[in-house]
């Protein structure tokens, strides 16, 4: 760096302005500052948006989507939303018309030579199978499979044994769904043993409704005549194994899950704040008593007692079982907050600024309202935010093991429980409620983290 040559002038005393520390940041109130920090945290903001969206959805949902969560649509069981919803109206009995064309097994090989065929149209009312009898067989066994049958694999659901005496004919009326089924007929030998070779035929079952059924489902009479095509109700998120609308159940389930998840922590945190500040402020025997009791309740195994409570309460007919769960949660969960609040109160009591305020002659009410409450509130808010996901977890766990809300009241946990039974065939029945539980808990956890960081940062910067 090239320096300008120095001159004696440079060595005269310097004139300096007064040194002023420019600490002129705007003064923010406690909550304004916390809010600003929270908003600055992108993850926490996103979580807050998710939480608000979930709460809004569960509040407004039943008004927007008015489908009854308990109503069963037995024409559409375990269906995905994009499944074919068409149904054709057929006359009264819905029996197959023998004059209709006959479908034969395609693809050539018919090792048994029994010429298995489907007579008429395969509908959800009935599928009529016919085949030629053989002299060698002592009878036939009919199978139905929902997948294509490869060589050597099981043939599927055994439907019936057809004796040799009658005609080679079988009518399947067993819980047919609009689907492609694979029927197999195996001949039995004299000893009743199945012969190795069997004939397989696919049947594309068409959904049909009889006129009476269509009327019962509320279709306009003008549209109902044999051969007419109607469209069944739409389920935006599909249906469960009992044909109930998933969206409606998720919305109503959210009300149960979120209600327990928010109401229970709210109550027990309030109890905790009350008892904790009582213990912290009064001290002495009151403090001793409350803290001993707290120790005792903390030592109890939580979920075991939740289950015991549920059993002990008993649930009468027509009750949902929400209230007992709420009470049990509150009764078992208050000690954590109590301890925390007591600790906070004791700590704040020792702080210099409280002493200073007291010496300045502030009345007790002022001390409580302006010093104690704001400082405890932050911690309480964080506790509350973290208590919500854990209460939702508990509800889900209990409902999952069948100890939560009573069917048919939906809750996310009980929906998961139902969903696991059919998850291999219809995973959406598990995935949807499970995703919602996880999303909710995740959002509250992230929000709690953000809130704690915001309050922590505030605490740190104050020092």
């Amino acid at each position: 760096m090239a320096r300008a040559p120095l001159s004696p002038l440079d060595f005269r005393p310097a004139e300096r302005g007064l040194q002023v520390d420019p600490i002129l940041r705007p003064s923010l109130s406690y909550w304004e500052d916390t809010w600003r920090r929270l908003r600055g945290n992108r993850r926490a903001t996103l979580a807050l948006v998710v939480v608000i969206a979930l709460l809004t959805a569960s509040a407004v949902g039943p008004v927007v989507w008015t489908v009854d969560p308990s109503a069963q649509d037995l024409d559409q069981v375990s269906k995905l939303p994009w499944a074919d919803r068409r149904a054709r109206i057929v006359d009264g009995a819905g029996a197959a018309d023998p004059s209709l064309p006959v479908a034969r097994a395609t693809g050539g090989s018919d090792p048994t030579g029994m010429d298995l065929r489907i007579v008429g149209e395969a509908t959800t009312k009935s599928v009529v199978l016919e085949w030629n009898l053989s002299d060698l067989a002592s009878g036939y066994r009919v199978y139905r499979h929902i997948d294509a049958i490869a060589g050597g694999e099981p043939l599927g659901l055994p439907l019936a044994e057809v004796p040799i005496a009658g005609p080679g004919r079988f009518i399947d009326r067993l819980n047919l769904q609009p689907h492609r089924y694979y029927y197999a007929v195996a001949a039995l030998d004299a000893a009743g043993e199945e012969q190795a070779a069997s004939t397989i035929i696919p049947a594309d079952v068409v959904r049909v409704l009889s006129e009476q059924e269509a009327i019962a489902r509320g279709f306009a009479a003008s549209k109902i005549f044999p051969g007419a095509e109607v469209e069944l109700p739409f389920h935006p998120l599909g249906t469960d194994a009992l044909g109930r609308d998933m969206l409606a159940r998720l919305i109503h389930g959210s009300r149960v899950s979120l209600f327990i998840g928010i109401a229970a922590p709210w109550f027990y945190v309030m109890i905790g704040v009350g008892l904790g500040s009582l213990a912290g402020l009064r001290g002495g025997a009151v403090d001793q008593l409350i803290m001993r009791f707290t120790d005792f309740v903390v030592a109890l195994p939580f979920l075991l007692f939740m289950i015991l409570f549920k059993i002990g309460f008993g649930i009468g007919p027509g009750e949902s079982g929400i209230l007992p769960m709420l009470v049990a949660l509150v009764l078992l969960s208050w000690p954590g907050t109590t301890r925390l609040v007591r600790g906070q109160v004791l700590q704040i009591r020792e702080e210099g600024y409280l002493e200073a305020s007291r010496l300045l002659g502030a009345p007790t009410r002022h001390l409580l309202l302006h010093h104690l409450v704001p400082n405890v509130m932050g911690v309480v808010l964080v506790t509350l935010t973290f208590a919500i996901p854990s209460a939702i977890f508990t509800e889900a766990f209990l409902s999952f093991i069948g100890m939560g809300v009573v069917p048919p009241t939906p809750s996310w946990g009980s929906m998961c429980n139902d969903g696991t039974k059919t998850m291999l065939m219809h995973p959406h029945e598990l995935v949807l409620p499970a995703t919602l539980i996880s999303l909710t808990v995740l959002a509250f956890n992230v929000l709690g983290d953000g809130l704690r960081d915001a309050l922590d940062a505030r605490l740190r910067s104050r020092e």
Partner: protein, 332 residues
């Protein structure tokens, strides 16, 4: 005589959220065998960072040595994350400010002292432990056997600092770096610890580097002193030079801020007004400009160089320039 440890033009920076902190700026320093060198300065002046970076004890990143060369017994040292690894514990021992937190809370004192012996001297655990007891004894701990079996939380601060010293000298190092060894201790214990250090130095011929903010401690034990301010050495020389013939306004200010018993009982302590400069953006000129009672126009924009006044006495100030008015600093 050749220097044991010689630091030349060392600069250290830290990356932080607020930007880059220039913690140490162009520091040169040497320590000769058997002497006690004191490095003095207020908090944050870079005195601790200087030695910790040489010993590889600062976290890297965010810390980074940007310039400089360090030699040990004439050999160039590697400077980096593992700087001084083969010297630590064997050639150079270190003790720190807070003995309470500087000892592992879950290990017995004896085990912690025995550790370097096991690692560097290949001793068995039993041999090392018995030597640990004798080291504790050398550190003037009364019941060394009992102490060796205790955990740090069971001992007082003074005892722990003795244990730290015992640990630092376990492998008979040629140099002991004592970083604020007495700051966290009571005044009476401070003096015991200083006596102990002086005594050990005599017996073992160690070089001691004493990092402190306490001029009183410096006056008592040091042979040579370096005064640091805002990451730079502003003055260095023998104790007599620096105390009786201070050549830098900052040193003068430090002395004025020192409580003196004998000289003038009625004198008020004079604090140095203002705060040290922001090391995120070191000033273009002299770091002391804003606080200096003798500040001149040149000081604001031109960094002063170190000027040699007498043999071994240097000062970084424009007042030594020929153009500057010749006023004795003590009267300033």
């Amino acid at each position: 005589m050749n220097a044991l440890l010689s630091i030349e033009n060392l600069s250290v920076e830290f990356d932080t959220h607020g930007g880059v902190v220039h913690a140490v700026r162009d520091v040169s320093l040497a320590a000769y065998p058997g002497e006690t060198v004191a490095v003095v300065g207020e908090s944050g002046c870079g005195k601790t960072v200087t030695f910790q970076s040489v010993m590889g004890l600062i976290p890297m990143p965010p810390g980074r040595i940007t310039a400089g060369e360090v030699t040990w017994r004439g050999d160039r040292m590697h400077l980096g994350r593992s700087a001084g690894r083969d010297l630590r514990g064997t050639e150079i021992g270190m003790i720190f400010q807070d003995p309470m937190s500087s000892l592992n809370p879950t290990m017995r004192i004896g085990d912690q002292i025995a550790e370097p012996l096991q690692v560097h001297r290949g001793k068995s655990r039993r041999q090392a432990l018995s030597q640990a007891v004798s080291l504790l004894d050398q550190a003037r701990i009364h019941a060394p056997e009992r102490c060796a079996k205790q955990y740090p939380f069971e001992l007082s601060g003074g005892m722990l600092q003795r244990a730290m010293i015992a640990m630092a000298i376990a492998c008979e190092p040629a140099m002991l770096i004592a970083d604020e060894p007495t700051t966290a201790l009571d005044v009476t214990i401070q003096s015991d610890i200083l006596d102990l250090l002086a005594d050990l130095q005599q017996r073992k011929g160690m070089t001691i580097v004493l990092v402190t903010h306490d001029l009183g401690v410096v006056a008592r034990v040091a042979d040579r002193v370096a005064v640091m301010y805002a990451g730079q050495i502003v003055e260095s020389g023998t104790v007599d030079d620096v105390f009786y013939r201070p050549a830098h306004p900052y040193t003068v200010g430090l002395k004025a801020a020192l409580p003196a018993r004998s000289i003038d009982p009625g004198r008020d302590l004079e604090p140095i007004a203002g705060t040290p400069p922001d090391l995120f953006a070191p000033p273009a000129g002299c770091g002391y400009f804003m606080r200096c009672p003798r500040a001149m126009r040149v000081c604001e924009g031109h960094p002063p160089d170190l000027v040699s006044l007498e043999a071994g006495h240097v000062s970084r100030c424009w007042l030594h320039h020929d153009y500057a008015a010749d006023v004795s600093l003590d009267q300033a």
